[in-house]
């Protein structure tokens, strides 16, 4: 507390050092901006290129037509409905199972050696290549359980694929709920289930939803596991039940891209636009839902 402890401003010897640190600061900011531009430019190039190729083919007829040998008559209806059916089955299977497993592991499970082993395995499963899940789906759903090459088999395979992601992100969201909130609930005589249902889950919901968006977005773009289980590349009808054979947008796009005719390339580009639009719609819905829930607790 002595008066000599603070040197006068002019005598501060740190001046040169500060200038150097400021330069580094600016340098880092510029670097980050460049990296961002590179990432955005790649995305913009993709969208512009696809739009230039495919926008001309976009029409109501393209959306509602079935595949054809003649490019100008071919449409995407079968693949679009196929994707929607498959993703719906995936969501119905993966969401409750994934969230339930995460709740058990995070809230009820003990910190035993087995729990740690399970945790490590789930993390590893999230990194397993999707083709492996395709082979599992082929053996388990298509053959053993006799689902055939159906929407159900496809959806179930993709559900297995995204389950680790759903579990991990849900656990993360549950872990982020402050302990004080749980204690406040327990202190009023709430049971564990009441605490989880009324306090923990509503607070964790936005985080859970973010995980679901990521998981389902991954599922909708998957091609390899569905080809493995035998999603056909040329179907002339839309699925009408979970037992129907099906194709999905990425497979249809791949099919068109592999044709030599320019007209089919245009179809592929238009298909990509539809796929992007579907993804965007799904994500927008999830973001809207998330904001609604976040606002519920905010001042």
């Amino acid at each position: 507390m002595s008066e000599t402890a603070l040197p006068a401003l002019g005598t501060l010897s740190a001046g040169r050092d500060i200038a150097r640190r400021r330069r580094l600061d600016v340098l880092f900011q510029v670097l980050a901006l460049i990296v961002l531009c590179v990432a955005l430019a790649a995305l913009a190039a993709l969208i512009v290129d696809v739009w230039a190729d495919g926008a001309g083919r976009l029409s109501w007829r393209f959306l509602t037509s079935f595949p054809s040998r003649r490019a100008e008559q071919a449409g995407i209806w079968h693949a679009l409905t196929g994707s929607v059916f498959v993703i719906a089955v995936t969501a119905v299977l993966a969401v409750p199972v994934g969230i339930g497993a995460a709740i058990y592991l995070e809230e009820y499970g003990t910190r035993s050696a087995i729990a740690r082993l399970i945790e490590i395995n789930i993390t590893n499963l999230a990194a397993v290549p999707s083709i492996i899940y395709g082979l599992l789906g082929l053996g388990l759903f298509v053959r053993m359980l006799g689902f055939g090459r159906s929407v159900l088999a496809g959806g179930a395979t993709l559900a297995l694929l995204v389950l680790p992601v759903v579990i991990l992100s849900t656990r993360e969201a549950l872990r982020a709920v402050p302990k004080s909130l749980r204690e406040g609930s327990y202190a009023l005589g709430a049971t564990k289930w009441q605490t989880i249902w009324f306090q923990v889950l509503p607070v964790a919901f936005p985080g859970v939803l973010t995980g679901l968006i990521l998981a389902l977005s991954r599922a909708i773009g998957e091609t390899a596991p569905l080809i493995t289980i035998g999603a056909v590349t040329f179907v002339t009808f839309a699925p009408d039940s979970i037992w129907s054979t099906f194709t999905v947008l990425p497979i249809q796009i791949f099919n068109w891209v592999s044709r030599p005719q320019v007209a089919f390339q245009e179809n592929a580009a238009a298909g990509i636009i539809i796929l992007l639009a579907l993804l965007l719609t799904m994500n927008a819905t999830a973001v809207w839902l998330r904001n609604r829930f976040q606002r519920a607790g905010q001042p």
Binding site: T110, R111, P178, S180, L181, R182, E183, G184, S185, Y186, A187, L188, G189, A190, T191, Q194, F198, Q199, P202, V203, A296, G297, Q298, P299
Partner: protein
């Protein structure tokens, strides 16, 4: 004979050092701890605590950080149960019944022994729903009007009603820190406990908000048995009737507050309350 008689005072001194001063027998006992040990893993946080807490008075727990006062408070409603790898030995009797006995319903216990935390922790819901939560989960209100009545009653008890009555359906996170803490008190009172545990309820509040909480504690002791943990010795002296001084996991001294602060039996207590350490 004469020599033996002279040795009695020093023997009494030894007895006092070994345990807390027993309360006068005529006072009824609400909470009684006997031989209570508490462990976090292998670390012993409470050593052989024995204390009798009386109904309708305010009992303050004081002591330096890490002395075990909060841990002891949390053994009284078994809040430590939710912390993994903890262990309790000994007894805590509330109204004569051991709450650590097998077969005790912890959920029912916590409804009877309410708790207010150091950092106010309103639920991210409306003011109304915060107070109504405990009533709803315990199915304590038969109708909407009964629920609304109980919410109003609890907010009035916590001296918060006049400030929030026009904004009951706004978020509880929008009110001030002091109001949030009184909301947490209202929330705890709504389920009609008979004991209220308060873990440093005013430590994060400004002096005016602190004063309101202290006035509230003073009013509430007519209806409730209150145990309050505090770092603030003036606060303990102002609001409590009995004070327990904890040090290194042991209960050093427990007596009437005026006695603790004016004529403590232990040197350690005296050093602490006069600010010589801690």
């Amino acid at each position: 004979m004469n020599g033996a008689a002279r040795s009695v005072p020093s023997l009494a001194g030894l007895v006092r050092q070994a345990g807390p001063t027993p309360a006068p027998p005529q006072l009824p006992v609400k909470i009684q701890a006997e031989g209570l040990n508490f462990y976090y893993g292998a670390k012993r946080a409470l050593e052989d605590i024995a204390v009798r807490i009386h109904p309708n008075v305010v009992t303050a727990f004081i002591g330096p950080s890490g002395c075990g006062k909060s841990t002891f408070l949390r053994t009284l409603n078994r809040m430590n149960d939710i912390i993994p790898e903890t262990r309790v030995e000994g007894q805590v009797l509330i109204d004569g019944r051991d709450i650590y006995e097998p077969g005790v319903d912890v959920v029912a216990l916590r409804r009877r022994v309410g708790m207010v935390f150091q950092k106010s922790n309103p639920f991210p819901k409306s003011i109304f729903d915060n107070v109504a939560y405990g009533l709803r989960i315990n199915a304590m209100a038969g109708s909407r009007s009964e629920l609304a009545g109980r919410v109003e009653e609890s907010l009035r008890q916590a001296a918060l009603w006049e400030e929030v009555k026009d904004r009951l359906h706004e978020s509880a996170l929008a009110i001030s820190g002091g109001q949030q803490q009184r909301l947490c008190i209202a929330r705890a009172l709504a389920v009609r406990p008979d004991i209220l545990l308060m873990d440093e309820p005013a430590s994060a509040l400004d002096p005016i908000a602190t004063q309101r909480i202290e006035e509230l504690v003073y009013d509430l002791k007519k209806t409730y048995t209150i145990v309050i943990v505090t770092h603030n010795m003036q606060q303990a002296a102002r609001v409590s009737d009995y004070t327990a001084f904890f040090w290194l996991g042991k209960l050093v001294e427990y007596d009437r507050t005026d006695k603790i602060f004016t004529a403590p039996a232990e040197k350690l207590t005296e050093d602490y309350v006069t600010g010589r350490f801690g």
